[in-house]
């Protein structure tokens, strides 16, 4: 047996190199389906308004900060709410918040700097409120560049948006849906109690959906 064969088969570490690490999202039904969010890769979270995209992102940030990682939130439209993020368990002191004043170009540049600086656990690029006419003009080369910057690192680039953008560059694509809204009380005196959300893995394709409940802030 030659040396190469011995190294790749007998020692058996070659296949281990390809093993990807995952960061659990903290949502047990979802983690049961997708194992977690892959590190060193781009993950897309898509869905319409009130579908639970931000709830999932807060949960992911909470999972990352609880592991003593530093995270960054590139907020294209200044939409981040630290109050609900804290309630979800995000350690704000471990989070760099970058407000881009409705400028998607600035958000992409900021994300580029962060990913190339390295050392972050999760970098969130929030493009939820970017109009489609601007979102569709983002060159696909950005996503290749971002993927290249984080591969072989433990960083996660989480894109939050209405429609998929990174296409083949994303290793995970989760589609979020609002299943049911829970209201309590008699008509005219109702209270918002929470919402039931559904996550579907579009990439890799998983037939099962994950359903979880999110409480409304009290």
């Amino acid at each position: 047996m030659n040396l190469n064969a011995a190294l790749t088969t007998t020692l058996g570490f070659r296949s281990d190199l390809k093993t990807r690490e995952f960061l659990p999202t903290g949502l047990a039904p979802l983690d049961a389906i997708i194992e977690g969010v892959p590190r060193g890769a781009i993950s897309e979270i898509i869905g319409p308004v009130s579908s639970g995209r931000t709830t999932l992102i807060h949960s992911l940030l909470a999972a990352s900060t609880s592991k003593f990682e530093i995270c960054a939130y590139v907020d294209t439209d200044d939409s981040f709410d630290p109050v609900t993020a804290t309630a979800a368990g995000v350690a704000l002191s471990q989070l760099v918040w970058i407000r881009c004043g409705h400028n998607a170009g600035h958000a992409l540049k900021a994300a580029d700097y962060l990913l190339h600086a390295g050392g972050f656990g999760v970098v969130v690029l929030d493009l939820c409120q970017v109009p489609p006419r601007i979102a569709n003009r983002i060159p696909i080369s950005y996503w290749y560049r971002f993927r290249r910057a984080i591969e072989n690192t433990p960083a996660i680039l989480a894109l939050v948006q209405n429609e998929p953008m990174a296409k083949s560059c994303a290793s995970l694509m989760l589609e979020m849906r609002r299943k049911k809204t829970a209201w309590r009380g008699a008509p005219g005196f109702e209270l918002l109690r929470g919402v039931e959300l559904e996550a579907l893995s579009r990439k890799p394709v998983r037939p099962a959906t994950a359903t979880f409940k999110a409480k409304a802030i009290s």
Partner: protein, 403 residues
């Protein structure tokens, strides 16, 4: 052996430096230094003392003794030049006594250092503890301690006067790089770092352009500091050409961090600061930082702190429905039915209100120029869930969406 000079005058360090490169300035009017190496140059201790007295002038006392403390006691209590002094007859009050100890020694009839030195050491330790033992050792001239070497205050300032005015940033940065390299070398050699850099540009129009960079962590890497200066000057360029520039660094102790082998790697502080400075250059200075919650019921109870992130203990969390702000809030037209929202129309959002929860009346800060007072509703449309509010002037806004 040690020599001590005691007397008025600000020139005592210079006099001591003429005889020894390392000396202690015990008090502003007392300096003490070793004279062991001066024997070959000046001769016996008498000659050394005479040479010191000649250099120091007539109004100071000079003493030479076996220990530094004995030399200090002699110089403070014997006028003129004293060599190998006899301290036995000195009053016990020449020692650094507390009022209580002074009273006790007086009641015991202990008035001189000799009397104190002759007391049994065990008894002194039992009655006065370590402080008493230390005083007795001082009275016996047995305290042999190393000198606290005088370190002149180091400044990290530099100034360049230019022959011709410089209007472009690149040649200016070349000069700043030169100054930063020198100052950072100096910081490194003293084991220090800088947490504040002040750049003062004297301009051709007789004004000054002053920029102060406050660093969140002490740094001493000239390349990183130069990059920060460059980005700051690009964001705030001087109004006219520069004729002279000065740079001042504020020295502090460097930051030391003990990393854990099982902790995840976080961004290097200097690299992170550089990255954040670059991003600030794009999105604006006040748009990058760490979010902090404020102790208030204000609708926006948080602020963006201009500091670096820090690792803290994990927080308990639950699956919490997140909220997204619309900044600025969207102006809306709301149709009411029985004083409850029934239909809403705003830019990009419109529809029949399926469920509504409210009004949640909040107000505050009425004692400030920016009070707030509003009725909030949580509403559900077929397209999404939103938080809306009505101001006292009956104008409606959509504050954001639940997501």
């Amino acid at each position: 052996m040690f020599a001590c000079i005691h007397g008025p005058g600000a020139a005592l360090p210079q006099i001591a430096e003429a005889f020894s490169p390392s000396f202690e300035q015990t008090t502003p009017d007392t300096v003490v230094f070793r004279i062991d190496g001066l024997k070959r140059l000046f001769g016996p201790p008498d000659e050394i003392a005479r040479a010191i007295a000649q250099k120091a002038g007539e109004c100071v006392n000079v003493s030479i003794a076996e220990t530094a403390e004995a030399a200090i006691l002699a110089a403070r209590n014997f006028s003129g030049v004293t060599v190998a002094p006899n301290l036995n007859d000195l009053d016990v009050t020449t020692l650094p006594l507390t009022d209580e100890l002074s009273e006790i020694f007086d009641s015991w009839g202990i008035h001189t250092l000799e009397q104190l030195a002759q007391l049994p050491e065990t008894g002194v330790a039992e009655r006065f503890g370590p402080a008493g033992v230390s005083l007795q050792r001082l009275a016996r001239g047995a305290v042999d301690r190393p000198l606290k070497i005088f370190q002149p205050e180091t400044t990290y300032d530099d100034r360049i006067q230019l022959d011709h005015p410089v209007s472009l940033l690149e040649p200016l940065l070349f000069l700043i790089a030169r100054m930063l390299n020198d100052q950072c070398e100096k910081l490194l050699s003293h084991g220090m770092a800088a947490n504040e850099i002040t750049l003062r540009l004297e301009l051709e129009n007789k004004t000054e352009h002053v920029r102060t960079l406050r660093l969140p962590i002490p740094m001493r890497e000239s390349k990183a500091l130069l990059k920060l200066q460059q980005m700051d000057l690009e964001a705030h360029p001087p109004e006219a050409a520069t004729v002279a520039l000065s740079l001042s660094l504020k020295p502090v102790n460097p930051r030391t961090v003990q990393n854990g082998i099982f902790l995840p790697i976080t961004p290097a502080p200097d690299k992170l600061e550089l990255t954040l400075a670059r991003i600030r250059g794009i999105v604006g200075e006040n748009n990058v930082g760490v979010p902090e919650l404020l102790n208030t019921h204000h609708p926006h109870p948080f602020r963006l702190a201009q500091r670096q992130p820090q690792v803290t203990d994990p927080l308990p969390g639950k699956i919490q429905h997140a909220f997204r702000y619309f900044r600025p809030p969207l102006a809306a037209t709301v149709e009411l039915q029985n004083d409850r929202p029934a239909r809403i129309t705003a830019s990009g959002i419109h529809g029949k209100v399926l469920n509504a929860s409210g009004p949640w009346r909040t107000s505050g800060d009425w004692w400030t120029p920016a009070p707030w007072n509003r009725d909030e509703w949580d509403i559900s449309l077929s397209t999404g869930m939103y938080r809306i509010y009505r101001e006292p002037n009956l104008r409606w806004f959509i504050e954001g969406s639940y997501d």
